[in-house]
Amino acid sequence: MRAFEFHPAHQISDAIRSLDEANGNARICAGGTDLLSRLKDDVDNPERLVCIRTLPDLRYIRNDKDGVRIGALTTLSTIEEDAYVQKQLPLLHQALQVTAAPQIRNQATMGGSICQRPRCWYLRGPFDCLRKGGKECFAVYGENKYHAILGGHLCYIVHPSDSATALVALNASVKIHGSKGEKTVPIEKFFVGPEVNILKENILEDDEIITEVFIPHPAPGCRGAFNKSRERQSYDFALASAAVQCRMSRGVCEDVRVVLGGVAPIPWRSREAEAVVRGKKLSAATIREASEAALRNAKPLTQNDYKVDLTKLLLTKSFQQVSI
């Protein structure tokens, strides 16, 4: 790892000032599990790390009348063990249980897990690819077994975060602090595909930090399911995943959000699948139709057409689980 200037921040305003004055040359370090591996691989080379572990008051899970608020520094294992999350947000709980290995979940934070960079081996290796400001995406003609089948545009990374997939399904929002003040953004608007920005996966500016994730209380009758497929069973990133959050009333799906992970540069909301099931009973035929609809526009690369059937299967499974 190369040397850097280390700035522990003791207040949010310190952190923002420290980021701002570095002019794009600083990175936030929370749990460090993603950042340090990028620094070791020498694919990112900031002059300054702004350590936010030292910020007080960003480790909490608070329940209020509108929903649950999770401080950005709360570790994934703390969220996974939380009784409210286990009971009311099974979709998030299931996603966290299959995120990385327990030691990493002890270290990784809420904020870091949604801001982690993609695992594309060209991005993480010595390749001057589009996402690093170069001229070409090597995945198009190269080794693209793990790359995107939906939403690719010049660049074909997949978003690596399981919690992000779950949070989009749960209609969460993120609170962001920066030099210009504070704002809250629906998490769906937080992530951006390569057609909007080829260099990064979200709207965060260089001087901005996430301080909180908010998840509204699910309406009565809501059910959620998350299914993920991984190449290795002990722990691994998603080959594909499917999250379904659905409000059921007398067997009919009144409202629904369907989000696919591991298949697109952002957590991929499938409005096509949602349109099929909304207002209907979740019969086998409807579920089949919805799963087909979700993947209808898939454009596999040379080595990843397996993801199409795999994702349909995972989505079918998630629908089946919320229907019983």
Partner: protein
């Protein structure tokens, strides 16, 4: 407000609790906890493996939770409590029941992965005195072993857990010597 930044390699100095005792150490600010333990504190029980969070051989306890020391900056343990395999023995100096069980059952072959397994299992047994085989598998899922095939490791954790619950757990001869 752009500012010219300086990359510092000048040593930094921190104080923390290491294996139950106060410890002070100086090191370059970009070193990982793994490097600080091995290179600056000469505690080489913590092993250096993949360096990317994938093998678990560098696991140590920070504030009693297992984390991967290759992905922790040394600077961030200031004021915290770190336990390495060197600090696993009991207060009277005898081996921790997990260490004894690993030795009794041959749960270590080359031994490279062993410190990471021991510390991760230690925390498991502190929060769950009677883990199922699935609990053990899940807790140890981030630790790779290239020699044992894992079965002996799971058995050793079960044996240690039984002994720590005060049950008279003997090692069956065939586990050690194979079937006659």
């Amino acid at each position: 407000m752009a500012k010219k930044l300086k990359r510092k390699t000048q040593k930094v100095h921190i104080a923390f609790t290491l294996n139950g005792e106060p410890c002070e150490v100086a090191f370059a600010p970009h070193k990982t906890l793994l490097e600080v333990l091995r290179e600056d504190l000469n505690l080489t029980g913590t092993k250096h493996g993949c360096e990317l969070g994938e093998c678990g051989t560098c696991a140590v306890l920070v504030d009693r939770k297992p984390v991967l020391s290759c992905l922790v900056l040394g600077l961030t343990v200031e004021g915290r409590e770190v336990t390495t395999v060197e600090g696993m023995q009991l207060a009277d100096g005898s081996l921790h029941p997990l260490q004894t069980a690993f030795a009794d059952l041959g749960a270590a072959q080359c031994g490279y992965c062993t410190p990471g397994f021991l510390l991760t299992a230690k925390e498991l047994l502190e929060k769950n005195s009677k883990p199922t085989r699935d609990d053990i598998k899940e807790a140890l899922s981030g630790n790779l072993c290239r020699c044992t095939g894992y079965i002996k490791i799971y058995e050793a954790v079960e044996l240690a857990a039984a002994r720590m619950r005060g049950e008279a757990a003997e090692v069956p001869e065939e586990v050690v010597l194979g079937l006659k």
